[in-house]
C-alpha cells in the first residue's frame, strides 16, 4: 500500500546558502577553503516555538526539515542532548531496503525508499545513497517458503524484489560460499536492487543543513529535563538551557524514549536493548552489495572506505550502556566466516554498540499520546536508519495536522490495546 506521489517539499537551498558543487569546491580551493559557511548555525534556544523536535538524530532532523519544507512551519527547533546524529544514526550499519512482509511496513519503508532516491539533490548534500542491492539469504526449506510468501507480498505491493538461486547468488556475490555441505547451506535468496546503503553521518548533517537553511533552530548540548503541561495539554519543555514554551513537541529519541515518556507521565511498550556492530580494516572492494541472513543472524556490506561492516541481532537484556556482550559479535563472526571464508584473515578494527527501542511486535510507534500536542516516534528496533526520510516525512505530517495519515495510522499506540499488531517477528525476519 505505497502511495505514488510524495510532496518532497521545496528542493535545494535558499539563496542565502552557498550551494555545494564541484564548482564551489574549485572556487573555495582557490582561497584555500577559508570561505566555507557553517553547515548549520549553532543556535541558542528562543523562549518559544511553534513546535519543538526532541532528538537531533536522523529521524528528528528529517522531521524538522519536512515540517519546514512541506508544512511551512519554520519557527521550530530541534533539541539535541549531545551532538547531532550521536545516537543510532551514527552507530548503525546503514542498510536501506523496503522489502517488508506486511502492507503497513511495506508502505512506510517504501515511502522512505522513494524519498532516499533523490535525497542528495533535495538536500544539496551527498549522502552517498548507494543502491547496490540488498540480498536476503534463505538457508532451509522452511525459509524458502517464507521467502516465497514475502516476495509475493512485496511484489503485489509494487516493490521490486526478485528470487535468486544459489548459482545466481554466487555470480552476484563471488565471495559467498554456496557449498551445499555447509551447516546452513545457501538455498536461495531474494534481492531488492533498489536497496543499499548510505553514509549515515551525512544524512544527519544534510538534513540539519537544509533545515537550518529554512530557519529551523538546531540546538546541540540541550538536554530536556522536563515536559510541562496543563491538564492533558502540552505547554512547554524544560531544558538545561532554559524553559521553552511550545504547544507541540515530537519526541524522536530512540533508545531513551521511555525516559522521555516518563517525564511526560505516559508509558510506552518499549525495551531499550544494545545493538552491536563492527567493521574490519579497510581492503580493496570484495563485496558490491548488502547480504542479510536471518538464520545465522548476521548482515554484511562493504563501506566506500573499504571496511567490511557487520551487524547482528540485539542483545538479550535491557541496557542504556551503549555496549553489548561479546558472545553476540562472536557468533556473528562465526556466521560471517561460514558464509564468507575470505573474512577469516581480515581483522576487526572497530566495534561499538547502540541502544535501540524494541517493541513487542518489532514495529515502530508513530503516534499521538494522551497529552495533546505531544507526539512520539520510536520503537524502530534495529531497522530505523532505512526509514529515516519516511519516518520524518510522516511524523512531520502527524505533528502539522495533529492526525495520523494513512501510513502512520497503523502505528498508533492503541494497537497494543486492540491487539492489531504489525508483527514483523519470525516470518518477516526483522534482523535489519
Amino acid at each position: 500500500m505505497t502511495e505514488n506521489t510524495i510532496d518532497r517539499g521545496r528542493p535545494g537551498l535558499s539563496e542565502r546558502r552557498k550551494r555545494y558543487s564541484v564548482f564551489s569546491l574549485a572556487r573555495q580551493a582557490r582561497n584555500y577553503h577559508q570561505g566555507w559557511q557553517q553547515a548549520w548555525r549553532h543556535a541558542a534556544p528562543k523562549s518559544s516555538y511553534d513546535a519543538v523536535i526532541i532528538g537531533g538524530g536522523g529521524h528528528g532532523l528529517a522531521t524538522a526539515y519536512y515540517l519546514a519544507s512541506v508544512h511551512g512551519m519554520t519557527n521550530i527547533a530541534v533539541l539535541e542532548k549531545g551532538w547531532l546524529g550521536g545516537g543510532n544514526t551514527g552507530r548503525n550499519t546503514t542498510i536501506i531496503r523496503s522489502n517488508y512482509l506486511w502492507d503497513e511496513s511495506a508502505s512506510i519503508y517504501e515511502h522512505a525508499l522513494k524519498l532516499w532516491e533523490g535525497l542528495a539533490q533535495d538536500l544539496n548534500f551527498n549522502i552517498m545513497f548507494s543502491q547496490r542491492g540488498v540480498l536476503t539469504i534463505a538457508h532451509s526449506e522452511h525459509e524458502l517458503k517464507e521467502m516465497s510468501r514475502r516476495v509475493h507480498a512485496i511484489r503485489l505491493n509494487g516493490i521490486d524484489s526478485e528470487i535468486l538461486g544459489p548459482s545466481e547468488i554466487k555470480s552476484f556475490v563471488p565471495i559467498i560460499n554456496i557449498d551445499p555441505s555447509i551447516r546452513y547451506p545457501v538455498m536461495g535468496g531474494f534481492l531488492q536492487r533498489r536497496g543499499g546503503t548510505a553514509r549515515h553521518d551525512a544524512v544527519a548533517w544534510g538534513y540539519a543543513r537544509a533545515a537550518d537553511d529554512l530557519g529551523v533552530d538546531i540546538i546541540q548540548n540541550c538536554e530536556v529535563t522536563g515536559i510541562t503541561r496543563q491538564g492533558q495539554r502540552l505547554t512547554g519543555i524544560q531544558t538545561n538551557q532554559g524553559y521553552i514554551k511550545t504547544r507541540r513537541a515530537g519526541c524522536v529519541v530512540a533508545g531513551h524514549s521511555s525516559l522521555l515518556a516518563e517525564m511526560a507521565g505516559i508509558r510506552l511498550p518499549i525495551a531499550s536493548r544494545p545493538l552491536q556492530a563492527l567493521v574490519s580494516e579497510p581492503i580493496k572492494p570484495i563485496l558490491d552489495t548488502v547480504i542479510m541472513s536471518n538464520a545465522v543472524h548476521m548482515y554484511i556490506s562493504q563501506s566506500d572506505k573499504g571496511e567490511m561492516v557487520l551487524g547482528a541481532g540485539v542483545d538479550k537484556y535491557n541496557s542504556y550502556a551503549q555496549r553489548g556482550s561479546f558472545p553476540v559479535p562472536e557468533h556473528m563472526l562465526s556466521a560471517a566466516v561460514e558464509l564468507f571464508p575470505v573474512l577469516s584473515r581480515l581483522r576487526m578494527l572497530r566495534h561499538w554498540g547502540g541502544i535501540v527501542d524494541t517493541c513487542p511486535d518489532a514495529s515502530p510507534i508513530l503516534s499521538k499520546t494522551d497529552i495533546k500536542g505531544l507526539y512520539f516516534n520510536c520503537g524502530w528496533g534495529t531497522g530505523g536508519f532505512k526509514a529515516t526520510p519516511g519516518s520524518g516525512h510522516v511524523f512531520a505530517d502527524l505533528i502539522a495536522n495533529d492526525r495520523p495519515n494513512k501510513i502512520a495510522l497503523p502505528y498508533a499506540l492503541n494497537r497494543f490495546e486492540t491487539g492489531l499488531l504489525i508483527d514483523e517477528h519470525g516470518a518477516a525476519g526483522v534482523a535489519h
Partner: protein, 1015 residues
C-alpha cells in the same frame, strides 16, 4: 659476528641490539627484493637495518610514507604479509616478527611503490579537503553509482588473497585469574612479582615477543644495580619459577568487558617460518579476572608541521628503540625536533651510537642547562625557541627548514635556515595508553603538568600503573606497581607478602613538555605544505580547522567529518594532536573538548580467531534420529527442521520428488506407510497438579481425561496467538506424556517451566524433556493393524480394547513399547514409541513385517500432503504468531467453560472478533492440475495494479494423489465469509493468474471414517 652479515645490514651497529640474536640471520623479501635480518627483528627493524625507509603510500594522497614508530601505534608502514591463502593485508611492519622466508609487499600503490600513479592525487590535494565528497558527485543524480565505483577502488588499503579458505586453525581458552596484568614492561613485571610472591593466581600478558618493554630501549638505566634488560630477564626468570604465575608473550589484551571479562589474542605461530600442525595460528583467551592491573605504557606524540609525513621523519623514542632493542641506526645525519627533555636523551644516545645528530631544535626558549651542557659536550648544535617549519625530500627526508619562534611557538620570528639530514626525530611528549582503562568505562582527566589524559576514577576492579597512568619516572612507576599489586592482593582477600621495591639509577628529568600542537610555518592559514595529524587517513591540521569552520564542533563530528583517528592505528598517535587543534580552533581548552570513547579492540584483531572453531560442522550441532542410518542407506532426501535433519522423501530409482511423494501418499492411503516421527518434542509431566497445570496451559479441558487416553491440545501465548500443538496422553493420574511440534520442543519446555516456576509455584508438577529418550515410528494406513500384528505384539489391537485416541504399553516383536493410537493422516495409525536405542531395530522389524503388505516409508513431505488432505494444520506453516485458534476455525478446542487459560483474556479483546481477520480456508483451483505456489497471495481483483489489496497468503499447497487434484489452504481476510467465491492468485512472473474457489479445509474423508482402517 662476521663482517659479511654486517654488510648485509648496512645500518646495523656491530654491537647488535639488546634483543637481536646476530647468530641467526633470516632472509626475507619486500616487494620481491631479498634482504637479510636477524632473529628478534621486526619487519620494520630489518628494513631499517637495510636502509629501507619507504614502505608504503598514504590512503588519500598516495604520499610516500616510511616507518614512524616502533609498535602498535605505527600509522604508515602497512604491508601485506604472507602468500597464497595465508596472505594477510594491512599489517604494521613494526609488529610483524621476522621469520626466515617472510614475504611482504607494500600496499595502495600502482604500478610500484617508488613510482605510484596515485600520487597524482597529491597534486590536486587542494581540491580534496576533508569531506569534499559530501559536496560533489551529485550531478547528474544517476551517476553516483559510477562515481562510487571509482571512489571505492581508489579507497581501501590492502587486497585479500585470491584463495579464500584459511588453512590455519584457531583455538579458544577460558580461564579465571586472581590478577591479570596487561603489559610486561618494568611496571608490569614489578606488579607481577609482587602479586606472585603473595601467592595469587596471576596472568601477565605482553604484546611483544620479549618482556621488558621500554627497558629494552634504554642504555644508562640500572635497577638494583643491574642493567635494565638484565633486571627484566631476572624478573622474568623469577616469575617463570612461580607455579602460580602464567606469562603470555605475543599476547594482546584487546577487549575489556563488563565484570572484568577480558579478551586476549595470543599469536601462537604467526612468527614461525614453519607452522607446526599441532599448534593453532592464534588463540583467543577469555578471562574472568578478579582484579586487573594495566601497565600498557605510553606512546610518543608526533609534532605537526609541513611534510611531517616524509619517510625518515620518526618518533625520537622509536629511533631509540631501533637503536637499543634492535641495534639499528635509523639514519646517519639526524636532527631532533622536540618540546621536552626526554627526547634530548634519545638524541644523545643516538648520537653516541653513530646517528650523527647534528642539531637539536627545541620549541622552548630555555631548555635545562644540563641538557645544553651535554649537547655542547657531544658537539651537537642547539636551536632553542625555534622549530621546523617544513621538511623536504622525495621518498626520504633530505632537508628541513628551521626558524626562530616567539616564546609560545605560535609565530615564526626569523627567516628560515636550511639543514640537510636523513633522519628527523620528533617528539611532542607522551600519551599514556589509556585505551583499556577507558574500555573498562574508567574516567579520564587532563593533566595540566604533563599535558596528557590520565586515568581518574575506575568503573571495574582495575588499576593503571606506570606510564599508562601518566607516571613516567621509573622509580615512582616501580613504587606505584608495588602498591597497586598489594591493593589487588588485599582486595582479593590475600595476604600481601611485600616484595622489595628495587632502587633505580637513571637520568632524572622533567616530564612536562611545552604544549605545542602545531609548529608555526610562517605561511598564512591553509598555505604551506600539508601538516599531518592523522597520517594514515591523510588528515591535516588544516582539515581539522576546516571542519570547525563548517560547524563540525563536537569532537565526534570532527572525527567523523575528517576521519581523524579512524584509521587502523585507531588514532594512537593522532588523537591528542587532533583534540588540541580542535580546542584551539574552537578557542577553548582540551578538557572541555573531551575525548572520544575507546572501544574494543585495542588493536586490530583477527576475525578468524574470534570465529574460532565455531565454523563448518561445528557452527551448530546436527540432530539426527535413531533411524537416521536406515534413511541414508535407503537414499532418503533430507530437510532441515531446526537443528534436525528429517527424512523428506525416499526417491526410488529415477523418481522425481513429486513422483516419490505421491507414491508414498498413495501407499499410506491404500496399504500402509511408515514415518520416522522421533523428532516430535516429548515432555514427561509428573506430579499431583499435572492435570490442573495442563488445564491452564492448553485452551481445552484436561481435568477429566481418562488414564490411557490421548487428547489433542492447542496452546496459545498470553496474547492469544497459537504457539504450539500436540497430543498429550494421561499415563497415570499424576503422569502425562506431552508431544510438541519438532521445532517447538525446546520453546515449549521453557514456556512450561516459566509458568511453573514464576507464576504457579504452588503447583506440584515436574517436567522432563524426553524427546531423545524415545524413538517414534508412525505406522499409518488401512493395513497398519495387520502389519503390527505380523510384527508380533502382546497388545490386543481390537477397536474394543484399543480405541482411537488411546495408549497401550506392551511389546512389539519383543521391544518394550508405548503405542499411541492417534492419527495425523486420517488413516488407522499407531505412533509406536520405543526406547531410542531400539529405534533402528523397531524400524527394521516393521519394514520386514510390512513388506508383504507393501509397507512404504514416507517422509515429511508426504506427511504434509496426508495431513493437508484432512485439513490438519501445522503450527509454523498455517500459523506465524499472528493467528488465533478462531482464525484457524478451531473454536471447538477453546473451552468457554474454563474461567481461565493462557491466552483467554487476550482472545476476548474486541478486535479479535473482527470479521476481516485472516481466517483459514481451503482453496480448490479451477484447473485441478494447477498447484498454487505456497506463499502466493490471493486477491479478489486480478486486474488491480500494485499496490494490490491482498486477501492473504496460501499456507499449504500440494497435488493430492488421493483426490487426484491440487488442494490448498490459505489464510484470507474474512475467509469463511468468502466460501464458494472465486479468488485469484497472481504469479511472480506477472503473466499468469491462478483462479480458485474458497472451500472447507477438509478435502478428504470429512466424516473421518477411515480412522478405523475400513477402506
Amino acid at each position: 659476528m662476521s663482517r659479511k652479515k654486517l654488510k648485509a645490514n648496512p645500518m646495523r651497529i656491530a654491537v647488535g641490539g639488546s634483543r637481536i640474536d646476530t647468530s641467526q640471520p633470516l632472509s626475507f623479501t619486500f616487494d620481491g627484493r631479498s634482504y637479510t635480518g636477524f632473529k628478534g627483528d621486526t619487519l620494520a627493524s630489518a628494513l631499517l637495518a637495510n636502509n629501507v625507509h619507504l614502505t608504503g603510500r598514504s590512503f588519500k594522497y598516495h604520499r610516500p610514507r616510511g616507518i614512524m614508530a616502533a609498535g602498535a601505534e605505527e600509522p604508515n608502514a602497512l604491508v601485506s604479509v604472507g602468500t597464497g591463502a595465508r596472505l594477510e593485508p594491512n599489517l604494521k611492519a613494526t609488529q610483524v616478527e621476522l621469520y626466515d622466508g617472510l614475504s611482504a609487499r607494500s600496499q595502495n600503490r600502482f604500478p610500484s611503490l617508488r613510482f605510484d600513479l596515485g600520487a597524482v592525487n597529491s597534486l590536486f590535494g587542494r581540491f580534496f579537503p576533508a569531506g569534499f565528497y559530501y559536496k560533489t558527485f551529485m550531478w547528474p543524480a544517476s551517476f553516483w553509482m559510477t562515481y562510487e565505483h571509482f571512489i571505492r577502488h581508489a579507497a581501501g588499503l590492502g587486497r585479500v588473497s585470491d584463495e579464500h579458505n584459511d588453512p590455519d586453525r584457531y583455538e579458544r581458552m577460558h580461564a579465571h585469574f586472581d590478577i591479570v596484568i596487561a603489559g610486561g614492561g618494568m611496571a608490569g613485571l614489578m606488579a607481577a612479582l609482587q602479586a606472585g610472591v603473595s601467592g595469587q593466581h596471576v596472568l601477565l600478558a605482553e604484546d611483544m615477543p620479549v618482556l621488558g618493554g621500554w627497558l629494552n630501549s634504554v642504555k644508562d638505566m640500572h635497577i638494583d644495580a643491574l642493567a635494565a634488560t638484565d633486571w627484566a630477564d631476572r624478573a622474568a626468570e623469577r616469575l617463570q619459577q612461580m607455579g602460580n604465575v602464567t606469562i603470555l608473550k605475543r599476547t594482546t589484551l584487546f577487549g575489556y568487558n563488563d565484570h572484568n571479562y577480558l579478551l586476549l589474542a595470543e599469536r601462537v605461530s604467526d612468527h614461525m617460518a614453519e607452522k607446526p600442525g599441532h599448534l593453532p595460528r592464534q588463540r583467543l583467551w577469555k578471562v574472568r579476572a578478579r582484579q586487573v592491573i594495566l601497565a600498557t605504557g605510553a606512546v610518543e606524540r608526533p609534532l605537526t608541521f609541513a611534510s611531517n609525513d616524509l619517510p625518515g621523519v620518526m618518533l625520537a623514542s622509536a629511533a631509540q628503540t631501533y637503536l637499543h632493542h634492535y641495534g639499528v641506526l635509523a639514519g646517519q645525519r639526524a636532527v631532533l625536533m622536540t618540546n621536552n627533555d626526554a627526547a634530548w636523551h634519545s638524541a644523545f644516545d643516538l648520537h653516541e651510537a653513530g646517528c650523527g645528530v647534528r642539531l637539536i631544535i627545541d620549541t622552548r626558549a630555555a631548555p635545562a642547562a644540563a641538557l645544553l651542557r651535554r649537547a655542547e659536550a657531544l658537539g651537537i648544535a642547539v636551536r632553542a625557541g625555534a622549530c621546523v617549519t617544513a621538511a623536504h625530500g622525495g621518498t626520504r627526508i633530505a632537508r628541513i627548514e628551521v626558524a626562530s619562534t616567539d616564546v609560545d611557538a605560535t609565530r615564526v620570528t626569523s627567516d628560515t635556515e636550511h639543514y640537510d639530514c636523513d633522519l628527523l626525530l620528533m617528539s611532542g611528549g607522551l600519551n599514556p595508553l589509556v585505551h583499556l582503562h577507558s574500555q573498562a568505562r574508567g574516567k579520564l582527566k587532563w593533566d595540566e603538568k604533563t599535558h596528557c589524559f590520565r586515568p581518574s576514577g575506575v568503573h571495574e576492579a582495575e588499576q593503571s600503573i606506570g606510564a599508562c597512568n601518566g607516571t613516567f619516572g621509573p622509580a615512582s612507576a616501580l613504587r606505584e606497581a608495588c602498591a597497586a599489586a598489594v591493593r589487588a592482593v588485599k582486595a582479593n582477600g590475600g595476604d600481601a607478602v611485600l616484595a622489595e621495591c628495587p632502587s633505580v639509577t637513571a637520568a632524572s628529568f622533567n616530564w612536562s613538555p611545552m604544549p605545542v600542537w602545531e609548529l608555526p610555518s610562517g605561511h598564512p592559514a591553509g598555505r604551506g605544505g600539508k601538516a599531518f595529524v592523522d597520517f594514515q587517513n591523510d588528515v591535516t591540521a588544516e582539515d581539522i580547522r576546516l571542519a570547525v569552520r563548517e560547524g563540525y564542533h563536537s569532537v565526534e563530528h570532527v572525527k567523523r567529518y575528517t576521519t581523524t583517528g579512524m584509521a587502523t592505528d585507531q588514532g594512537k598517535t593522532s588523537n591528542i594532536n587532533a583534540l588540541a587543534l580542535l580546542a584551539e580552533a574552537r578557542g577553548t581548552d582540551i578538557p572541555s573538548v573531551g575525548t572520544t570513547t575507546f572501544r574494543l579492540p585495542y588493536s586490530p584483531t583477527s576475525i578468524g580467531m574470534i570465529a574460532g572453531r565455531d565454523i563448518g560442522g561445528l557452527f551448530d550441532p546436527v540432530r539426527t534420529t535413531p533411524m537416521d542410518g536406515w534413511h541414508r542407506r535407503n537414499s532418503a532426501k533430507f530437510e532441515h527442521v531446526g537443528q534436525w535433519m528429517r527424512a523428506w522423501y525416499y526417491p526410488k530409482d529415477g523418481e522425481s520428488m513429486e513422483q516419490a511423494v505421491s507414491r508414498e501418499v498413495r501407499a499410506a492411503r491404500t496399504t500402509a506407510g511408515l514415518l520416522d516421527a522421533s523428532t516430535l518434542g516429548k515432555i514427561d509431566i509428573k506430579g499431583p497438579d499435572a492435570a490442573e497445570f495442563l488445564n491452564r496451559i492448553y485452551t481445552n479441558s484436561w481435568l477429566r481425561l481418562g488414564i490411557g487416553k490421548c487428547r489433542y491440545g492447542l496452546m496459545c501465548k498470553d496474547d492469544g496467538m497459537v504457539m504450539d500443538d500436540g497430543v498429550t496422553t494421561r499415563l497415570a493420574d499424576d503422569h502425562f506424556h506431552m508431544t510438541t511440534t519438532t521445532g517447538g520442543a525446546a520453546r515449549v519446555l521453557d514456556w512450561l517451566e516459566e509458568w511453573l516456576q514464576t507464576e504457579w509455584p504452588e503447583l506440584q508438577v515436574y517436567l522432563t524433556s524426553v524427546t531423545e529418550q524415545w524413538a517414534v515410528a508412525t505406522l499409518s494406513g488401512p493395513a497398519a493393524r495387520d502389519i503390527l500384528q505380523a510384527a508380533g505384539t502382546d497388545i490386543d489391537l481390537s477397536d474394543e480394547n484399543f480405541s482411537f485416541m488411546s495408549m497401550k504399553e506392551g511389546y512389539v516383536s519383543g521391544l518394550p513399547a508405548r503405542l499411541f493410537r492417534i492419527s495425523f493422516t486420517g488413516e488407522l495409525s499407531y505412533e509406536i514409541n520405543v526406547p531410542a536405542r531400539y529405534g533402528q531395530a523397531l524400524w527394521t522389524v516393521l519394514m520386514n513385517a510390512g513388506a508383504p503388505f507393501g509397507l512404504t516409508p514416507y517422509g515429511t513431505e508426504a506427511m504434509h500432503v496426508l495431513r493437508a488432505e484432512k485439513g490438519f494444520i501445522i503450527v509454523g506453516q498455517e500459523t506465524d504468531g499472528t493467528v488465533t485458534p478462531h482464525d484457524l476455525d478451531m473454536g471447538w478446542i477453546v473451552s468457554d467453560k474454563k474461567p481461565d487459560f493462557i491466552g483467554k483474556r487476550a482472545l476476548a479483546r474486541q478486535s479479535m472478533a473482527a470479521h476481516d481477520r485472516k481466517q483459514l480456508v481451503g482453496l480448490l483451483t479451477t484447473d485441478p492440475a494447477q498447484v498454487i505456489p505456497e506463499g502466493a497471495h490471493a486477491v479478489l481483483d486480478p486486474l488491480q495494479q500494485p499496490p494490490v489489496d491482498m486477501l492473504g497468503q496460501i499456507t499449504s499447497s500440494y497435488f493430492s494423489p488421493t483426490i487426484g487434484r491440487s488442494i490448498a489452504m490459505a489464510l484470507l481476510k474474512g475467509g469463511r465469509g468468502l466460501s464458494g467465491q472465486k479468488v485469484y492468485i497472481p504469479m511472480l512472473d506477472g503473466t499468469d493468474t491462478i483462479e480458485a474457489t474458497v472451500t472447507s479445509t477438509q478435502f478428504y474423508d470429512p466424516k473421518g471414517e477411515r480412522l478405523n482402517g475400513k477402506s
